[in-house]
């Protein structure tokens, strides 16, 4: 829906995932179904609009939002039954699943990964692997889902800093790259740019070609469909030509990964 006018949508339910991440289930007021990797512009009254990736959808749209700024602060204060504005779905989404896919997700990059995993699992595809890095064990989102998925696909979790409850891997997500099951795969990287940078270095060391690495880029986005200019990188608009880009497409743009 290429319009600047948000559609009033009711919050059907809210779950607290961690200290600063909440999952919102929102009334699906827009007909068009999203595809994995797309995002919506969410409008919060008295605050503003922010782009949030779709985590999942069925009867409602599911978003997981981290509290980082003024708008998300206000959003976190809302309760079930409150209204937000919705525009979307925007973006190109992840490429169609065609072969073994490794998803590398960091922090709040897990929700878009969820959209891919849930969708393709529902279509019967099981040739996927998830490498997930969170800051600390208490920052891990979707604990139950991660458990559930591990019944079907390989799920590897690591934390930057462990605690007394944690007996899994401690280290940044590149430290579990040795557990990647298949190098002849499509790699989807979703997370902070510093994580992307180091992940790419490691993948290149492993011999992965630029064409098979996909990045879910992030930029300040306002309109969501390529007319406000904020997310411009080279000739591309992250909201319209992305947010998912092949590394080969953007690797020669100096400011793409900064």
């Amino acid at each position: 829906m290429r319009s600047m006018i948000p559609v009033k949508s009711r919050i059907i339910d809210i779950y607290k995932e961690t200290d600063d991440i909440k999952t919102f289930i929102v009334e699906k007021t827009i007909d068009e179904d999203p595809v994995p990797g797309q995002f919506y512009e969410i409008y919060v009254r008295d605050a503003g609009e922010i782009p949030i990736s779709i985590a999942s959808w069925n009867d409602g749209l599911i978003f997981s939002v981290k509290r980082v700024g003024a708008v998300t602060e206000k959003l976190h204060k809302l309760v079930k039954g409150d209204y937000i504005g919705l525009r979307g779905p925007y973006g190109n989404g992840f490429p169609e699943h065609r072969r073994f896919t490794v998803l590398i997700a960091g922090g709040i990059g897990l929700p878009p990964a969820r959209s891919y995993i849930e969708y393709w699992l529902s279509k019967g595809a099981k040739d996927m692997q998830l490498l997930y890095g969170a800051r600390t064990p208490s920052d891990i989102v979707y604990k139950k889902l991660l458990d559930y998925w591990s019944n079907y696909i390989d799920v590897q979790i690591t934390v930057d800093r462990g605690d007394s409850t944690w007996d899994g891997n401690v280290g940044v997500v590149t430290t579990i790259f040795n557990r990647i099951k298949n190098k002849d795969a499509d790699f989807l990287i979703i997370g902070p740019e510093i994580m992307m940078k180091f992940s790419i270095i490691e993948l290149k060391k492993m011999g992965v070609s630029d064409d098979n690495i996909y990045l879910s880029m992030e930029r300040r986005m306002k309109c969501g469909f390529g007319i406000c200019g904020h997310c411009n990188i080279g000739r591309y608009y992250v909201c319209k030509d992305g947010p998912v880009f092949r590394y080969s497409t953007i690797k020669d743009i100096p400011e793409a990964i900064h």
Binding site: D46, G48, G226, I227, H230
Partner: protein, 301 residues
């Protein structure tokens, strides 16, 4: 269709338009000339304004969803501005609120017969456009009117022909001699990510944003909440343009932001649309407090 209009009848023509439409045109206020609502034809002047009438199709600040539904005629817009608005259409046209407003505005452009101080329009389309609704050129005692909108034909318009076209061509040929076009062949390929001019301009740029606000082709906007969703003109040379939550900024210094402005206009946009996002109007130079000159930049590439 070509017409001609005796110059002394222009005022009457505008008066006639005012009877049926809201008409905006250049008007003198003090020593300045600005686009204003005309109450009578005598207020009109064909002098150049410092800012073009971009706000008619794209207001500097508007509440999203609010559209006024009046039909407006903007007469006296210069060709460089009008060409810019067509470039805006290519980008913003997809937005229904822009398209709605655009439909209702008729631009009647005036062709410059003398180069202005900072303009370099001959580098792009030049003062005489190929596409127009109604294009006026002053050839001395007459205006030659190239017309594509039958509804706006005035009662004093006379049929024009070969002579009028010849007169136009002579004026244009003179114009091009006085304003030789800059060489922009392959500019999109030659422009560099490391041009030293970005740092040079950043030394003195005071981040006023005038280059973006005065430009007829700049379309970037920001949205915000003020008891409702609003949008306003934005400027890519401001640091908040790309700053994200957590204070992460892909363009943290002014050099990089100036680089974005020039590369977006002269490379990225060309790669997407096959034309440069510039019409050579020179308004960015005129409104820049430190006279950063895009012509210098182009010549230097």
């Amino acid at each position: 269709m070509i017409y001609k209009l005796k110059k002394e009848f222009l005022q009457e023509y505008i008066d006639d338009l005012i009877k049926n439409y809201e008409v905006w045109g250049p008007k003198k206020i003090g020593n300045d000339v600005i686009f204003s609502k005309l109450e009578k034809g005598s207020e009109f002047t064909d002098e150049r304004t410092i800012l073009g009438p971009k706000n008619f199709i794209y207001p500097p600040r508007e509440k999203i969803g609010e559209i006024d539904d009046k039909e407006v005629i903007v007469i006296g817009v210069k060709s460089c501005d009008l060409l810019g608005y067509r470039m805006l259409d290519d980008v913003l046209g997809i937005d229904p609120s822009y398209a709605e407003r655009r439909k209702r505005v008729h631009f009647l452009n005036f062709v410059c017969t003398e180069p202005c101080q900072y303009g370099f329009c001959t580098t792009f389309s030049g003062p005489r456009l190929m596409e127009y609704e109604m294009q006026f050129t002053d050839i001395g005692n007459y205006y030659v009117i190239e017309c594509n909108n039958k509804n706006l034909i005035g009662k004093r318009f006379e049929e024009g022909g070969e002579n009028e076209i010849k007169a136009l061509e002579i004026i244009m040929s003179d114009f091009y001699k006085k304003m030789p076009p800059l060489d922009v062949k392959d500019l999109d390929k030659k422009i560099s990510w490391n041009d030293p001019k970005y740092a040079e301009f950043a030394k003195r740029c005071i981040s006023c944003g005038a280059c973006n606000f005065a430009c007829p082709t700049c379309f970037c906007f920001d949205t915000y909440d003020d008891n409702g969703l609003y949008r306003e003109w934005d400027s890519c040379i401001l640091s908040g343009f790309t700053r994200m939550a957590g204070n992460i900024n892909p363009r943290p210094i002014l050099d990089l932001r100036l680089r974005q402005r020039f590369m977006h206009k002269l490379k990225f946009h060309y790669e997407n649309f096959s034309y440069y996002l510039c019409t050579g109007c020179g308004r960015c130079i005129e409104t820049c407090p430190v006279r950063i000159d895009i012509r210098d930049f182009i010549r230097g590439v």
